[in-house]
């Protein structure tokens, strides 16, 4: 810590913004840079691609079913003759949107509850019992209840697709924050006993500042891991839900659903499994690298090394 201060004094550079520092460090992480480029690339394909490749992924051309790759259908067609490339792009929009928002929601909840429970002793028992309760609840009946109670309301308020989207994000978010909360709480408990916390408490730092300036930055690495795993988890959970008929309408492609539907055709048309599988894995992988880079860049001990 001290040598960084000494260095910057010696160089006598003008004060730099924290975010610039952060970017400098992030840039040196090759994997992270590559991951981010790839992730942006996927986003671009998925959201801009449909304007270039204009075939409708829901259009059934029954005569062209079960085709291999060709000029008309670069990734082939499915069992009803729908174009796989268009379906992959349309599915990517949904899967990425669900994955990212649901992950963000579950991280937010998990971090909030974890930090609260770890930092405020009085809340610990209550919040952790709440976590136990959520861990113990059987997912499937819970989903059925939530969907029964809210689907029609959301459908009339936001229309069928947005309504289901909100429902999905909410459902996945509130059923997957528990692990993050447990881990964050554990880390907070340990950090709370460190000398720098003691020091900063002794100069009268208020709790809110304490949490945002000192505690949160130090629990970032487990949060980043949770985030990476969270996206994958959300994409997969969404596919399981669609399969059970609890998710999006069946003609609405998502990556998880494409993968599930094509598993039966694994032996005849292996390429059909390959595309959604690759899309999910590579996206998750790139998010993971971005997460690694973010963590390194946000950690002042590594920065400048």
């Amino acid at each position: 810590m001290t040598d960084i201060a000494v260095n910057s004094l010696a160089n006598a550079r003008p004060p730099r913004s924290q975010w610039l520092d952060f970017w400098e460090q992030f840039r040196t992480h090759r994997g992270a840079l590559f991951g981010m480029t790839f992730f942006l690339f996927v986003l671009l394909i998925v959201f801009v691609g449909p304007y270039l490749w204009t075939l409708d992924g829901q259009y059934i051309d029954i005569r062209a079913r079960n085709q291999g790759p060709s000029l008309a259908h670069p990734f082939g067609t499915d069992q009803l003759g729908r174009d796989t490339l268009s379906r992959l792009m349309a599915g990517g929009q949904v899967s990425l949107a669900v994955g990212i928002t649901a992950m963000a929601l579950s991280l937010l909840l998990g971090t909030l509850i974890g930090v609260m429970a770890g930092y405020f002793k009085r809340l610990d028992g209550l919040l952790m019992r709440l976590t136990d309760l959520f861990l113990a609840l059987p997912l499937l009946p819970l989903l059925l209840v939530i969907i029964m109670l809210f689907r029609d309301t959301l459908r009339t308020a936001f229309g069928p697709e947005t309504g289901i989207f909100i429902l999905m994000v909410f459902v996945i978010g509130i059923t997957s924050w528990m692990q993050t909360a447990r881990i964050v709480r554990g880390d907070v408990l340990a950090i709370k006993e460190r000398e720098f916390v003691l020091a900063s408490r002794s100069i009268g730092t208020p709790s809110r500042r304490m949490i945002t300036r000192h505690i949160l930055p130090n629990v970032l690495s487990p949060i980043m891991v949770s985030a990476t795993l969270g996206i994958a988890n959300a994409i997969i959970t969404e596919s399981a839900l669609s399969f059970l008929g609890l998710g999006f309408p069946s003609d609405f492609p998502t990556w998880g659903r494409l993968l599930f539907d094509s598993t039966d055709y694994l032996q005849q048309y292996p390429e059909r499994v390959l595309w959604p599988g690759l899309a999910i894995s590579l996206t998750v992988l790139s998010v993971n690298y971005v997460g690694d880079g973010l963590r390194d860049a946000l950690d002042p001990r590594i920065r400048g090394r």
């Binding site: 113990a136 609840l137 009946p141 795993l229 992988l285």
Partner: protein, 335 residues
Amino acid sequence: MFNYTIRRLFLAIPTLFFISLIIFLLLDLAPSDPTANLPLTIPPEVREKIRQSLGLGEPIHIRYLLWCKQFFINEPLNIMEQWFGWDIAGDRLRVLSWQTRSPVVDLIVQRTPQTLWVVGMSYVVGVLIALPIGIISAYRQYSWFDQVGTFISMIGFSVPTFFTGVLMIVVFSVWLGWFPSIYDTTHQVTDWASFWQQIRQMVMPVAVLALFNAAQISRFMRASMLDNLNQDYVRTARAKGLGERTVVLVHVLRNSLIPVVTVIALGVPQVFGGAIITEQVFKVNGLGQLLIISIQGGDLPTVQTLTFIFAFLIVLFNLIADVLYGVLDPRIRYD
């Protein structure tokens, strides 16, 4: 610490009752029907009679109290009778499953061995793989080993088991014919040959699940190691002239294990919860499969009992994780 543990244990009792009540209300609210899976040729009047005979006509609080009595009083008495050969008053109603009309606890006892064999073994294997991978990946951050490890663990986590399972069956059962595609739950290990047979039928489900578990745990291990490798005490240890091996495997590892132990302990109840999809793919028919068919069949007593046992394990292992925390990190004091 001891006081803390005792206090937590006492606190667990009302917590568990509360959880059981919430689960019961949730299941009651959920739209399910024990006669849903019957053929449509069975007329509505008969269905209504079946529901009545299952006790669905009773009001909800009566049904909840009945379940509590059956589960917390009758079942333990029954177990004691079996263990000690006592005979207290004979005719007690046990928790009966609606689908099979047999005691739920017997079903669970019947299902536990295969779940522990397969899911438990995969957890152990997963942890054993994950820890070294996490440690080496962190120590040699960004080396080829780290990159490959990251790649494989991400694949393991992001490709769902319904796909890897089927892929393995197609490759190793259909094409190569090495392993059976269907798990034989009646198989008994009596000699080396049957032991070998047991290993063969366990290989694929264990591998699929272990990959998934290892992916998750190795990520946490790596992150935690990285955090600690840059701490001041590591520098101090190195400065003292300690060997690299001691620094990493004693100083860093012990501190890094703290959060990982939580993750591992929290995962143990999942073992008992079974692995729904993997059990389905390989026909292991363990606790996970029991839970899912009970949910699908609207078999409320089974779901309630299974979920409650699951909740009990979660509370227990959370407590264990917290106690371990205090033991591993003396700075954390709960009192």
